[in-house]
Symmetry: C2
Subunit: 215 residues, 2 copies
C-alpha cells in the first residue's frame, strides 16, 4: 500500500514536470507562429492542446484519488495540495499559449505584431518559457527557485509590459487600433503565463519548506 502510494506520487510529480515543460514548448511554438505568421505551427499548438488538457484533468483526479484513498499527512499531503494548485496553473498556461496561437491563426497571413513591439515580445516569450522550464526543474528536483530569482523574473515581466504600453501609446505608433489591441492582449497573456509559472515555483517552495508561499 505504502509503496504503491510512493510510486503514484512519483509518477504524478514526473507528469507535472512533463506538463510544465510541454506548456513551455507550446508557448515557444505559439510565439514563433505569431512572429513568423506560421499557420501550420499555430494549428499544431491548437490541435495538440487536447492532450495537455486531458492530462491536467487526469492529474487533478489523481490528486483527489490519492487524497481520498491514502489520507496522507505531513510532506505527502503538502505535495498533493501543491500538485492540485500546480495543475490549475498548468491548465491556465496551456490556455494562454492557445490564445496566442489563435491570434496567429486569426490574423494569418499577416504578422499581427508591428516591428517596434517584436523584440519586446521575443524577450517576454523567452522569459515565460524559461520560467516554465524552471518550474518543471523545481518540481522534479523539489528544489525551489530562489526568492531572488522569482522576484527578478516578476520585475522583468512588469518592466516589459510597461515597455509595450509605452510603445503603443507613443506618438510614433502608426499602426492603428487593431495591432495595438492585439499587442496589449498578447502582452497580457505572456505576463499571466509567467505569473503562473512563478506560482508553481512558489508551490514547490511550500512543499519543501512547509511555509505558505510568500507573495
Amino acid at each position: 500500500m505504502r509503496e504503491t502510494f510512493r510510486a503514484e506520487l512519483g509518477s504524478l510529480t514526473a507528469d507535472l514536470a512533463k506538463a510544465a515543460r510541454l506548456t513551455g514548448v507550446m508557448m515557444t511554438n505559439a510565439s514563433t507562429a505569431l512572429s513568423q505568421a506560421d499557420l501550420g505551427l499555430a494549428e499544431l499548438v491548437i490541435s495538440g492542446d487536447g492532450e495537455l488538457r486531458m492530462s491536467c484533468d487526469d492529474m487533478d483526479q489523481r490528486c483527489v484519488r490519492l487524497l481520498v484513498l491514502q489520507a496522507p499527512v505531513a510532506t505527502d499531503l503538502r505535495m498533493l495540495v501543491a500538485a492540485l494548485h500546480a495543475v490549475g496553473d498548468l491548465d491556465r498556461m496551456r490556455n494562454l499559449a492557445q490564445h496566442i496561437a489563435k491570434i496567429a491563426r486569426m490574423k494569418h497571413p499577416t504578422v499581427p505584431i508591428p516591428g517596434d513591439v517584436r523584440p519586446v515580445f521575443a524577450r517576454m516569450s523567452l522569459l515565460a518559457t524559461s520560467l516554465a522550464q524552471d518550474a518543471a526543474n523545481a518540481i522534479e528536483s523539489q528544489d525551489p527557485l530562489s526568492a531572488h530569482r522569482l522576484a527578478q523574473a516578476d520585475e522583468e515581466v512588469d518592466a516589459l509590459r510597461r515597455r509595450v504600453f509605452r510603445i503603443l501609446f507613443s506618438e510614433d505608433w502608426s499602426h492603428g487600433v487593431e495591432p495595438a489591441v492585439d499587442a496589449a492582449l498578447i502582452g497580457r497573456y505572456y505576463e499571466r503565463f509567467a505569473d503562473h509559472a512563478v506560482a508553481i515555483a512558489r508551490q514547490v517552495s511550500f512543499l519543501v519548506t512547509g511555509l505558505p508561499p510568500e507573495r
Copy 2:
C-alpha cells in the same frame, strides 16, 4: 473532534460565500468608478483589497489544516478540494476587480471608456457580478447552478466580448489607440472574472455530484 470539524467546515463554507459576494461588490464598485471617473470609489476598491487577500490566504491555510488534521473522506474531502480550488478562483476575481479599479484611478479624471462601449461594459459588469452572487448562493446552499444557466452565461460573455472587438475595430472608432487598448483589457478582465465565477459554480457541482466539473 468530529463536531469541531463540522463546525470548521461550516465556517469555511460561510467565509467562502462571503468572499464570493465581496468580489462581486468589488467588481460593481470598480465598474462604477470606471464609468463615472469616481476616484474615491476606485481608491476604496484598491485599499479594501488587502482584507480579501488575507482572507483568501487564510481560507487556503484552513483547507490545508483541515486536510492534515482530519484526513477527511468522501463528501468532506470533496468539499475541501472544491474549497481549495474556489479560493484560487476568488483570489483571481479579487485581482481582476483591482485591475479595473486601477485603470479608473490611472485615467482619472478622464472616463477611459468611450460612449459606444459603455453599455456593453455595463452589461458585462452586471453579468460578472451576478455570477459572483450565483456562485456565493451555490456555495451556501450547496445547490449547483444548472448546466444550462452556466452555458448561457458563458455564451453571453463571449458574445459581449466579440461585440467590444467589433466596436473597437470598426471604421467608426474615432477615439484612437489608448482607449481601444484600455477597452480590450477591461473586456478581458470582465470575461476572466465571469469565467472564475463559473468555475466556482462548477466546483459546487463536483461537491454535490462527486463528478469532476464538465468543461
